[in-house]
């Protein structure tokens, strides 16, 4: 393929390298050297990628975690225009400001739907295995180009603004990535099997309602722990859904699966482990409470989990 994911890995690597450089030179940052080290190490992960020996990458990840965990990653001073300048910009540019913002989803859609099968010679134009991500990368570049043209700013200013946002999120940027690593380690170590074993051996599944409740709550709880419904589904469906609900109570597998996955999503709404949905937005929106998004979601997630148990109970025979 011509546009592959590797291109965007390099771009993101360069972005982090630029962050590191700008941070080293930023005397207003009280921790400029350790902060630059953090972003510099992350740049290496993207720039070198598979060329890094796995053990070295492991050491690198632990080093990053220690730097961040000891509170050595701090934001620098953000250079923002004064309020009136921004208000004047909004008045001058008006609706046109929306064009680059909407270019991201529009180009992503175009890439994923229209350019999906386009070949140049024998090669795919867009990497077919990572179609959405690659399309979104193209959309982001198009949006940056449009934004530069519209505001007469340089792409370098765009990099400075990206650094401002990355600085504001701080180590929360790497949390989803590290949690994904933990998830993979959990499955390698057999955590899923152990949970399924405990669930099936110690919980009462001898009435249909209890079995439905154990299945839905199990999905949600396991997702809270793993941070990902995709990790919970195979374990709980294999432990309770298929042997008990389908095997004993003759439930329709399609209903069991659909409602099971949605119960897992109720768990996703309630866990800091799903950092990219819950913790990163709190950082991105500059909320003082890192769990504020979770707290806003619990009043939706819990009633919905209850509703799922009832829906499964009444719909499982179609």
């Amino acid at each position: 393929m011509i546009v592959s994911l590797d291109l965007f890995y390099v771009l993101v690597g360069l972005l982090f390298a630029a962050c590191a450089l700008m941070t080293v030179r930023d005397r207003t940052n009280p921790r400029r050297f350790t902060t630059a080290l953090f972003w510099g190490l992350y740049a290496l992960v993207y720039l070198l990628g598979e060329r890094l020996p796995p053990a070295v990458a492991g050491v690198l990840m632990i080093a990053m975690a220690l730097v961040a965990g000891c509170g050595l990653v701090k934001p620098g001073r953000a250079d923002v225009l004064p309020d009136d300048a921004r208000r004047a910009g909004a008045a001058r540019l008006g609706n046109r400001l929306l064009v680059p913002a909407l270019a991201i989803p529009v180009v992503t859609m175009l890439g994923a739907v229209v350019l999906k099968d386009v070949h140049v010679g024998a090669r795919f134009l867009l990497d077919p295995k990572n179609l959405t991500l690659v399309s979104m990368g193209c959309g982001s570049i198009a949006a940056l180009a449009l934004a530069c043209w519209l505001t007469r700013a340089t792409p370098l200013q765009g990099v400075r603004e990206a650094r401002r946002l990355i600085d504001a999120m701080s180590w929360a940027v790497v949390l989803p990535h590290m949690l994904a690593v933990l998830g993979l380690l959990f499955s390698e170590a057999g955590v899923g099997k152990a949970v399924a074993h405990v669930a099936t051996s110690y919980f009462p599944l001898d009435s249909r309602l209890l079995a439905c409740a154990a299945f839905c709550v199990g999905m949600a709880l396991f997702t809270v722990v793993m941070g990902n419904g995709f990790a919970a589904f195979p374990v709980i469906a294999g432990g309770i859904g298929i042997p008990v609900l389908v095997g004993v109570y003759r439930a329709d597998p399609a209903v069991m699966a659909a409602i099971g996955m949605f119960s897992a999503y109720c768990g996703t709404l309630m866990t800091p482990m799903a950092a990219n949905f819950n913790i990163v937005p709190a950082a991105l929106l500059e909320l003082s409470d890192k769990n504020a998004v979770i707290k806003a979601q619990v009043p939706t997630a819990l009633p919905l989990l209850g509703a799922n148990i009832l829906l499964l109970y009444f719909l499982m025979y179609r």
Binding site: A55, G58, G69, R86, V191, L269, P281, L285
Partner: protein, 237 residues
Amino acid sequence: MHTTVNLWPLLGIAAVAAGFLLRANPVLVVIAACGVTGWAAHLPVMHLLESLGGAFIKTRNLPLILLLPLAAIGLLERFGLKEYAQSSIARIRSATTGRLLTVYLLAREVAAAFGLTSLGGHPNMVRPLVAPMAEAAAEARHGALSEPLRQRIRAMSAATDNVGLFFGEDVFVAFGAIVLMQTILKAEGLDVDPIRMALWGLPTAVTAFVIHAWNLRRLDRRIARESAGETAAERAR
């Protein structure tokens, strides 16, 4: 089940739970949990490092969706995208925070159900547009907001994006979750039509919309109540 299952790796889960309860830095919690899990599963140190490093490299596609739009969005913010979003919503008289977010919830959920999951998201929609609009709708009606209320509105904007995405996308047949469920059920000898799985997601998708829309109405009432309380307190002073 007569095969013995090693229950020690569950300590990894305990480490995560303890870490979050003690409010330790989440990045440190993750690393500690990695160490505990590796130790409980009897992985040699070198093997553990290689597993971690290999996984770290392999999953580096995950943060891209957050990082790629930042340069464009940051630049637009510098030139007043938030201020634009706020002034345009303030002109709509009937807009309230709750109504605005309900419309966004519906749009996000329906779009996701048709596979258009990229129409939305925290970096490219919520931070620059949805959250500022939700704040401005409340300000236009009730004047300046207290800081806790402002943060609550922002958190609710992020929550609305999540709820719309989660309970919309699973109704879309070509979505990864449906493919995953089909693969797993097939491995267990159950052949299930993906379209039926998507359809049986609909009752939950509708329920999710109703429950969250109701919570958004509660947010509207809370905004009205707290603002009224504040004005009364000011008058008393």
